[in-house]
């Protein structure tokens, strides 16, 4: 179900410490952070919870673990249902209300930013408005971030500077000054609302939660939010995962996209082309097979193979699909699992940035493509926390009745 997080205080999520002790928040909320907020709420309200209890899960020891303890107190617990099915609940990434992620195939006029955006997949790499106006400079440049009601959208952030105090002198401790940049505009009329999708949860489960604490520094008041179910009219929710009931409309759009893509790239083969856009970061397994894959030069075909292997986690007939193009940003990420006992660092992974677009080609009909891909949770690892979730991409402003 679609849910909203209505923030009452600034929040900091997944802050990476950069140079000069500067911690910057993400402007979106990964699913694992929302899951952690749920877990914290359940455990804080759990009469059986023991902070020192260590639970072994898949050979790893964890503390603060949510599981149904099946004690007499559990029978009357208002969070019983949530606790029972916690492992089966899936969380999407959460984004500011009403925004869309700009795909990495999008470009904007270099000279006049007010001109309409173009999509490289279905349009030429030049500004159509400038061509129409007869301008000599028709160059375009890459654009990223969010778009809301046709305009760029930037999340409002504020910088807080803090220091640690030396307990003996009462003065600022040397080298302990740090700054944190948090998402603000979280008070009064300007309450910032984040949207997302939680699978396997009901209205009753949501109404049992009065307040969540999302992200870091929650003990000093950051990240306070209420969670509410989106109303019936609120069907536009980022990430908008295409529902199975929209199959007919989506396959029409896919067909139209394929025609436009083929025309734009002067393709004459019999393949059908379709694109997927990541609506969340994806943890892909770019693993080396006997030696460093990237030590020597790779041609396009080899690079496509590497991408294909990395995407192989999806449960479909791999052989029927090929990668045609990849528009992606990849960064290295090493997070922490604070529930772990001992070394809390996680394995480093290659993370594909949200907004990345992959164009596939196949000989399969569009309705089968739809069935194959809609049945998937997402690409790569940690899909139960929203990583690797995607939607079909049709270029910009593609209407079925065009």
């Amino acid at each position: 179900m679609n849910v909203k997080l209505k923030f009452k205080s600034p929040f900091i999520v997944g802050g990476i410490k950069r140079v000069s002790n500067y911690i910057e928040t993400l402007d979106y909320i990964p699913g694992n952070v929302v899951r952690a907020a749920f877990a914290r709420y359940i455990l804080n309200n759990c009469p059986c919870f023991d902070r020192d209890e260590v639970v072994e899960i898949d050979g790893e020891k964890h503390r603060n673990w949510v599981y149904y303890r099946n004690r007499p107190e559990c029978q009357k617990c208002r969070l019983k249902n949530l606790c029972l099915k916690f492992d089966d609940i899936k969380f999407s990434f959460f984004y500011p209300e009403g925004t869309d992620i700009i795909p990495l195939t999008t470009m904007r006029c270099k000279m006049r930013p007010e001109h309409r955006l173009i999509d490289l997949l279905t349009e030429k790499r030049e500004c159509p408005d400038c061509i129409k106006a007869g301008n000599s400079d028709t160059r375009v440049e890459a654009v990223s971030g969010y778009i809301k009601d046709g305009k760029d959208y930037k999340v409002s952030k504020t910088l807080f500077t803090r220091t640690a105090i030396d307990k003996y002198t009462g003065a600022a401790k040397e080298g302990m000054l740090y700054s944190i940049e948090a998402v603000t505009a979280t008070d009064g009329e300007n309450n910032i609302v984040y949207w997302g999708l939680i699978k396997g949860i009901t209205d009753e489960d949501i109404s049992a939660i009065d307040e969540l604490r999302v992200g870091k520094y929650t003990s000093v008041g950051f990240g306070r939010c209420s969670i509410i179910a989106a109303e019936d009219g609120d069907d536009r929710c980022a990430p908008t995962l295409q529902a199975v009931e929209n199959k007919e409309e989506i396959t029409k759009k896919m067909k139209l996209f394929s025609e436009r893509y083929r025309a734009n790239n002067k393709i004459t083969d019999d393949y059908k082309y379709f694109a997927v856009k990541f609506v969340a970061d994806a943890k892909l397994g770019f693993k080396s097979h006997g030696g460093n894959e990237f030590e020597k030069y790779k041609n396009n075909g080899e690079l496509k193979d590497i991408w294909f292997n990395a995407l192989r986690a999806y449960k479909t007939d791999n052989s029927a699909y090929e990668i045609d193009k990849v528009y992606a940003e990849v960064f290295n990420f090493r997070g922490y699992d604070t529930s772990k006992v001992g070394d809390i660092r996680e394995e480093p992974v290659h993370m594909v940035q949200k907004g990345s677009v992959i164009v596939f080609k196949t000989l399969k009909p569009f309705n089968e493509i739809f069935d194959d891909f809609v049945s998937m949770d997402g690409f790569g690892l940690d899909t139960e926390n929203g990583f690797g979730w995607f939607e079909f991409h049709f270029g910009l402003e593609v209407q079925v009745n065009d």
């Binding site: 105090i165 030396d166 307990k167 003996y168 002198t169 009462g170 003065a171």
Partner: protein
């Protein structure tokens, strides 16, 4: 005495009475032509007050001057520094920086290294910096903003003019005015001091006595008679480890009274 654990707390309460009018400037100039050139500082309700920082700064400055002169024997051998001119631990002094690095290196890796470093710093501080704080040590005393005791007060506007030295008449374009809080105005006074040792205690006594003397000035235009204040009805309490629990649960009581005379 460092600040990592509670040893004692002194609380001074009383009333500050303006013996002469006070002018503590608001620090901003209005663009409104009918407003005063130099207004006094006021709170959100438009009531004048004496900022704690003004009072603390004036007291520190006076103590530095007094204890560097004949009063130095009251607080031991160490001569007080002038904090704005040449602090006893000056962060811009190369030798001081080197000394700080050396003491940090000396205790690096030891248990409670921060405490040893803090002790070295405290030993090097002058008696005033130990009480009023410095770059490297927090202040042991706090002075609240002195809020107006009564519901209302008078704020007077005084016109002034500069005199041309040659003609002995008013200088062209040099007329100005300023606000002053009327004499007799009463303000609340609340000061605390934490973890004072014997030497620090003497400084606290001097502070109270000078405020009670009525010869202490605060704010601007003191050379033309403004800003003289007097501490009246002063009550001083001392809370130590024995009375801490009673203070936390029941507040101040007469048994905690401290004889500072």
């Amino acid at each position: 005495m460092l600040l990592d654990k509670f040893h004692n707390r002194y609380i001074v309460k009383g009333t500050i009475v303006a013996e002469t009018p006070i002018h503590i400037g608001a620090g901003n100039e209005s663009i409104d032509p009918v407003e005063t050139d130099n207004a006094v500082i006021k709170d959100k309700d438009g009531k004048p007050y004496i900022p704690g920082s003004s009072l603390k700064g004036a007291l520190r400055s006076w103590l530095e001057t007094f204890l560097r002169g004949s009063g130095s024997k009251l607080v031991g051998e160490k001569k007080p520094c002038l904090i704005v001119d040449k602090p006893c631990i000056d962060p811009s002094d190369k030798e001081i920086k080197k000394w700080l690095e050396e003491i940090k290196e000396k205790y690096e890796g030891k248990d409670d290294a921060d405490r040893f470093v803090a002790e070295e710093i405290y030993r090097k501080l002058c008696p005033i910096c130990r009480v009023f704080g410095s770059h490297y040590f927090a202040s042991k005393i706090t002075i609240n903003d002195c809020r107006l005791k009564d519901e209302k007060t008078y704020i007077e506007t005084r016109d002034r003019v500069a005199i041309d030295r040659d003609t002995g008449t008013a200088s062209q374009g040099k007329k100005y005015d300023f606000e002053q809080v009327a004499a007799g105005t009463k303000f609340d006074f609340y000061m605390t001091a934490d973890n004072l040792d014997e030497e620090n205690e003497k400084i606290l006594k001097i502070i109270i006595k000078v405020l009670e003397s009525g010869n202490f000035t605060v704010g601007g235009k003191t050379s033309i008679g403004l800003g003289r204040i007097k501490l009246c009805d002063a009550k001083v309490y001392r809370i130590d480890q024995n009375s801490l629990e009673s203070y936390l649960f029941n507040g101040l009581s007469e048994e905690m009274g401290w004889q500072y005379v």
